[in-house]
Symmetry: C2
Subunit: 592 residues, 2 copies
């Protein structure tokens, strides 16, 4: 079974040394989590994750969820774990104190989320979706809706879901058919079938608050006619107590590749009572607030599973004896050397490490932008943070899930044939992780969001700001990093050329043909900036001989590995961007 | 459920037009399979695969194998399917007529193997392992052993296995502990535990012939003290009839990520009677003949599963309606266009196609080298074919399984969230395929075979020959291919630089650090040569307006896609090779 220990040292490095959170003490919530408090919170999260959630991960995978009489039971242990999770205050960590939350920084919330997800993705999805649904109500709800729904959701007594997909309608929400009919009392009757609803029905909470996209009778066709509704599993009386069972039921559970611990439900709405959330026909606006936060969270899922897979692969590689090190035995007293002595195993471990640590730095940086965008007093800072977040969200969702799967696959490879066997737990991580490039918008959709929307929004302001950040870093501090800076500048040059190529060509075929490669190129540069910043910090400590644990030396070597072997991939992405759409367009679809 | 139709047109293109098998009619067996016969054989294989094996693929996955009282039952339908398979003569297709085989060319055997594997990997492994075991007996056995064991194995009445791995001993066979004690009658008593034995016990055949590595009492330590033994499940009387049950039992079945239709057994040998195969202490020599053939077959597995995944993804992409094509609606009468109209979906499909068709060309070419190496009258041709095969085997095993997994993952991505759901069958293909980079020597081991052995063998003769083939092609015929040839020459230049770098540095750390990237670089050039040859043929037909079905146009465009977007990856592999081992060696293993 895979085991998990929260990588607290590296998390603290990112929060305290890289992002220097202490500089933001003026922002709401930051003063409540100075360094010692955030450390204590992460330690506590790590204890729950290692002690309770991680041991349940294989249980959820093996036993899955069961549907009987329209009720779903989760695997043994999940109820108790969720109770501990809610009681520990984890469901309300970053939520508004006005509704019972702790109001702590989002960046800290991301770190906690990483820990919980590493231990048990299927479990973490219950809380993750609730968090998103509560956010949507907080952003788009009326005062009465907030007062009624938020406190129990934030306390973890109720959970939430997102209901977008229908059998014939995934990416293309314009095809949505679910209907909402207004009632005399101001409520609506919702009917339709939704699929792929994670945590749509379960036994962890007293109530489930579904957020459901549907069309009003007078709705315009397409995406401009979609409204969002709050549809509780149990109707809620004005005093917050539970009323009658609503007309929504789980029709079946999907059999799937992984995340068996979380029920993926077909949800049937049959004249269910719902309440409009936000304005009529403007449902996607509210939903997209939720989706953006969910997309960032999914990117963190890719990173989280890669982190736990890496830990287990490294541990296996230190224990497994096989063959001898290239330079001669390093454990001559044993029958063979540990396989960590083999350069190819070192290469695989460092590849994982470069992704996991770089991804952590990038995701937490994005988390900080959420805080800045919401809480900073200076509108220019808020705008800049929002711009950056708009770019980073699709990048992190797509790159960190594509590379997350790849990284876990490398972890499996470190185990040899044993990696394919259930008992080691790696194969579950790979199966679980494979959902992440698919849900919350496939990675192709993320890439189109970046290329077709974000790239051109406000005359490309966001990307210009991002590239200027990298450029400024190279000019102001890069000289100290030598070859690493040369590599970063080269990658930035590739990004500039790719960007210019796309901005000169406005046809959507070229954008579509280039999208995924452009996203990977951009993400590599973003990783490069984080690695360069981290390398500088490491160099300072090494220059001061302040490295008693070897942490900074390892960080510096991993940075070099990244610049030597990972970042130069920007060149092939540029080449593919420039290949354009000619071959794709010329290929007869019937020949596929 | 995934469906399968053998891609006969493309297979015939490779056999007849690319490899021009008719030129080899003088070689043993080739005259028995002229174009019309080989076409009929592939059609018949396709019927069995689509009609019988493919529908059993999900059954094997869901129901798996069961162990009761040391007997293993396969999933319902497997026995009957195996009976049909054996009765159809597929177990003896390429085996020697002296023992009941049909003696057909190995290259045709590879094509048939691709078809059967695409339909059902777990099923195909039973016959694949038997084929390998029979080959080993044919190569290393005494006349009596061949006469006794080969006819029923070739007829499919008995199957075979390979027993190498032990719990503490995988790649490092020197650690092997199983023991063999000589008996007065010339036989041996074998004791030990073997793990990961595919098809180690089952109900498809009357007998199972295990080939088992073990040590004799006087064996030198390490790999020079390993002998190979024939250990039948039922002892065999001199007349070929079955005798007593031998002392070998399946102790348990592994729970694993995929290939559930094939039992992965722990095999316990307890004073089992065995017979020395080949010479004492020389077991690895015979085993490696079997392993090399198995490695080529595993490479074909990666390709086969990618082929069926591609078919299903293409079919889904033509059916699924979502969004509109970038240039405006192509199906304005429908609610949306098929997703095959989206450039990113086209990109994913062409990436798969470039791999599958290029891999098919390369694997069949390697299959032809097997025939040439065994059957050609000219010793120089045999030597050259052997050289090439030595290079191609690790390349195809590792690259075609790494890329096979990647290609199936792209196929899943074409399905969006539906790809994660069991009913579509894609997730099974991905789980099944993930064993292929692990077994028969991990891909890292293949890369070390290439870099540490094959590269330097006979002063690098094999690689020089391979590079000369590419060079000559570019000079003699490349002018007609324009940019494609420029790309191929660039890739060859990268290979030369990487080769020179490695030949100048003899330290094993550098070889190990570079191995996997060097293998991928080499394989890309090998794919490039095949794609260039195929593009030339396509151009000839297009120039003659001989393309009524659009086959050659599609082939030519796929070639261009490969040269524009896939082949240029050689640059990053060269860069990584040149990064050397410095960072890897400097990293403290305790820091992982």
């Amino acid at each position: 079974m895979a085991t998990y220990t929260a990588p607290l040292r590296d998390m603290q490095f990112v929060l305290d040394e890289l992002l220097e959170l202490e500089h933001y003490a003026d922002l709401d919530g930051f003063a409540d989590a100075p360094r010692d408090v955030s450390t204590a919170i992460l330690e506590e999260a790590g204890r729950l994750a290692s002690g309770v959630l991680a041991p349940l991960n294989a249980v959820g995978d093996h036993l899955g969820c069961r549907l009987e009489n329209a009720e779903v039971s989760t695997a043994p242990g999940f109820r108790e774990a969720y109770r501990l999770y809610a009681e520990g205050g984890w469901t309300g960590l970053t939520a508004s104190p006005a509704y019972g939350g702790q109001g702590l920084p989002h960046v800290l919330g991301i770190a906690v989320r990483e820990i919980m997800t590493s231990a048990n993705l299927a479990f973490s999805m219950f809380a993750g979706l609730s968090h998103g649904a509560a956010n949507a109500i907080a952003n788009g709800g009326t005062a009465a809706q907030k007062a009624l729904f938020l406190p129990p959701m934030i306390a973890g007594r109720w959970t939430g879901t997102m209901n977008l997909t229908e059998p014939h309608c995934g990416t293309d929400l314009g095809l949505l058919r679910s209907r909402a009919h207004p009632q005399a009392d101001g409520s609506y009757r919702i009917s339709g079938t939704k699929i792929f609803i994670s945590a749509g029905e379960h036994d962890l909470a007293e109530n489930i608050i579904h957020l459901v996209l549907a069309r009003l009778p007078d709705a315009p066709a397409g995406v401009k006619g979609i409204s969002l509704f709050i549809v509780p599993k149990f109707l809620v009386n004005p005093d917050g107590s539970l009323g009658a069972r609503n007309g929504v039921q789980c029709g079946s559970l999907e059999e799937k590749m992984g995340i068996h611990g979380n029920p993926t439900c077909v949800m049937n709405y049959d004249d269910a009572t719902g309440y409009l959330l936000g304005e009529a026909h403007q449902g996607l606006k509210v939903m997209f607030v939720m989706m953006n936060s969910a997309r960032l969270a999914v990117g963190v899922q890719g990173l989280s599973l890669a982190s736990v897979a890496y830990q287990n692969a490294a541990s296996y590689a230190r224990d497994r004896l096989q063959g001898r090190a290239p330079g001669g035995a390093i454990a001559p007293e044993r029958v063979a050397d540990p396989i960590v002595a083999h350069p190819d195993v070192q290469r695989m471990l460092l590849s994982q490490r470069a992704f996991v640590e770089g991804g952590r730095a990038l995701a937490y940086w994005a988390g900080l932008q959420v805080d800045l965008a919401h809480k900073h007093p200076d509108p220019e800072v808020r705008e800049s943070a929002n711009d950056l977040l708009g770019l980073l969200t699709p990048m992190i969702k797509a790159y960190c899930t594509d590379q997350g799967v790849e990284s876990i696959s490398l972890a499996m490879q470190c185990f040899g044939g044993h990696g394919y066997i259930r008992e080691w737990g790696i194969e579950q991580l790979l199966r679980d992780a494979r959902i992440t490039p698919l849900y919350e918008g496939t990675n192709g959709v993320q890439a189109m969001d970046l290329v077709a929307r974000k790239l051109k929004l406000n005359e490309g302001r966001a990307l210009k700001r991002f590239m200027a950040l990298v450029e400024d870093f190279c000019q102001e501090q890069g000289a100290q990093l030598g070859d690493c800076t040369v590599a970063l500048q080269q990658a930035l040059g590739d990004l500039k050329l790719a960007t210019a190529y796309l901005l000169e060509r406005s046809d959507p075929a070229t954008s579509g043909a280039a999208a995924v490669d452009y996203l990977h190129l951009t993400a590599l540069v973003a990783f490069g900036l984080q690695w360069a910043r981290m390398a500088l910090i490491a160099d300072r400590h090494l220059a001061d001989s302040d490295d008693s644990t070897g942490f900074y030396r390892a960080k510096r070597l991993t940075a070099r590995f990244f610049f030597e072997r990972i970042l130069p991939q920007t060149a092939i992405h540029l080449q593919r961007v420039r290949a354009g759409a000619e071959v794709l367009s010329a290929f007869d679809p019937e020949q596929f």
